[in-house]
Amino acid sequence: MEINVELLIGTKVCDIDGEDVGRIQELRVKRDEKTCLVEAYLIGAAAVIQRLSAWTLVRPIRGFLSTRRFYSPYQVPWQEMDLSDPQHPRLRIAKRDLRHAK
């Protein structure tokens, strides 16, 4: 199945129990000679900071962004994302099992 990445950006993601996780903001990929493989999806407002490469800008107010929960986005490995309905992506795991990106 083919999915347009640019349209996937900004769509809301639910976890396996239907709980709202956030929006897909960025894709982490690995590129070698001929291919480009998707490794993980970054979810949440903090991923926008990554996307705008604005981390130097938020560094001074990082403390205010209430611990690392806001500052670092959720990172969902490709195995745990179900994209069979591209307009309504779902996680294959629960929100509490998610990891934050470094």
Partner: protein, 404 residues
């Protein structure tokens, strides 16, 4: 040696870029209506513009991308499309105003009404872009624009009250007519912090193939050039205060502005003003049409350069051709260029956040700028400018309705 020449030309360019129908009209109106009291608005606008222009140049020199390139790359197509619509609409109105300014200058010189000049003037501007190179436009228009130094001479000849002028550099509220005062203040800021200059300058740095070694030069050009432009604008305000206030004249039309320097230079004043407006509006018309074409070309990834033959960057040249053609229409049907000017300045103020907000992100981007990112001084100024721009955006249109 080459760089020394470039510094001179760069400064001249910023002077040419600063003064145009909008800044002169508002400065003259302000001086005639409120004496020195609005000098602070020009000062504030000049300081903001110095920083924004310095950043545009530094961004291009280091990243080899223009501000428009980066706006699309970082913020994506949807945001870019919003900026495109807002900015191009405003630039188009500015272009109409500048072409109108050329037409009005020719009208007072020849007595032939400006609608008759719409076609020949647009054609001349288009031909200069079609045949000319970036260097010709940049340097030619600005050297001719040096005639505006007569504003400074005029102001000095009329013996201004320096104490009162110094007092005017600090913001204050007038006794009466607050709405008109506010409207002119917003217009001055809209005319000074003109985004087309930033986009033009940032594209110019790419056209002239600047690299990191140009960072000090860029700082110098932005600082001195824009300050010089600001001084010229202030001189126009001071001259207006000294020439028009004693006669009780409040300037509403171009015909009235034309009398600006007849007191200071009894013999040449009228022609100096007409020539100043003719050349600065010509320069600004060229810069604005180029800025629109750059905006489209860079945003959509077309090839662009004012130095190539038109068929090598067909879409770029097609864009400015169409824009100039369209800009002639309102003038042809006789829409008052001064009204367009006032409206375009209020709209510039209203859309300023769209143009200024990306600077905060782009100028702190380690991928584009590495160690040449903004320091805290520049960031503070950008922050303040963004605040000002949001305030302006909120009050510009209401003030246009009450005060204009």
């Amino acid at each position: 040696m080459k760089k020394a020449l470039e510094i001179t030309l760069g400064i001249v360019t910023s002077v040419g870029g600063f003064l145009e129908i909008g800044s002169v009209t508002t400065a003259v109106q302000a001086g005639a209506a409120f004496g020195y009291h609005l000098l602070w608005a020009i000062l504030l606008g000049t300081v903001c513009l110095i920083f924004l222009v310095e950043m545009s140049g530094r961004f291009s020199a280091v990243s080899r991308h223009t501000i428009v390139d980066a706006t699309r790359e970082r913020f994506g197509f949807p945001f870019f499309a919003i900026v495109l619509v807002g900015v191009v609409l405003v630039f188009f109105m500015v272009l109409v105003a500048e072409l109108g300014g050329i037409g009005l200058s020719l009208q007072i010189l020849t007595g032939i009404g400006f609608p008759w000049w719409a076609i020949p003037v647009s054609f001349a501007v288009w031909l200069l872009m079609w045949k000319g190179t970036f260097g010709l436009i940049e340097n030619g228009a600005s050297i001719l624009g040096l005639v505006t130094i007569s504003f400074v001479v005029a102001a000095l000849k009329l013996n201004p009250d320096w104490g009162a002028a110094g007092h005017g550099l600090l913001p204050g509220l007038p006794g009466d007519d607050k709405a008109k005062y506010g409207f002119i203040a917003v217009s001055i800021l809209g005319a000074s912090i003109s985004p087309h200059l930033m986009y033009f300058y940032s594209s110019g740095a790419i056209e002239d193939e600047w690299d990191k070694t140009y960072i000090p030069i860029n700082r110098f050009i932005a600082g001195f050039g824009i300050s010089f432009g600001g001084v010229l604008s202030m001189a126009a305000l001071v001259t207006a205060a000294l020439a028009f206030q004693p006669n009780g004249v409040e300037v509403d039309t171009f015909e009235q502005s034309a009398l600006l320097m007849t007191t200071a230079f009894p013999k040449w004043g009228f022609f100096l003003f007409a020539a100043s407006m003719l050349f600065t509006c010509l320069g600004a018309a060229l810069e604005t049409s180029l800025a629109i074409a750059y905006f489209f070309a860079q945003g959509f990834g077309w090839s662009w350069s004012e130095d190539l033959t038109p068929s090598k960057n067909a879409r770029f040249c097609f864009t400015y051709t169409i824009i100039i053609l369209l800009a002639a229409i309102p003038l042809l049907v006789g829409i008052d260029p001064i009204k367009v000017t006032l409206m375009s300045m209020a709209l510039t103020a209203a859309t300023l956040p769209l143009a200024v907000l990306p600077f905060l992100f782009l100028m702190n981007d380690p991928i584009y700028l590495g160690e040449h990112r903004n320091g805290w001084v520049s960031n503070t100024v950008v922050g303040i400018t963004i605040l000002i721009s949001f305030v302006l955006a909120l009050i510009a249109i209401p003030l246009q309705i009450i005060g204009g």
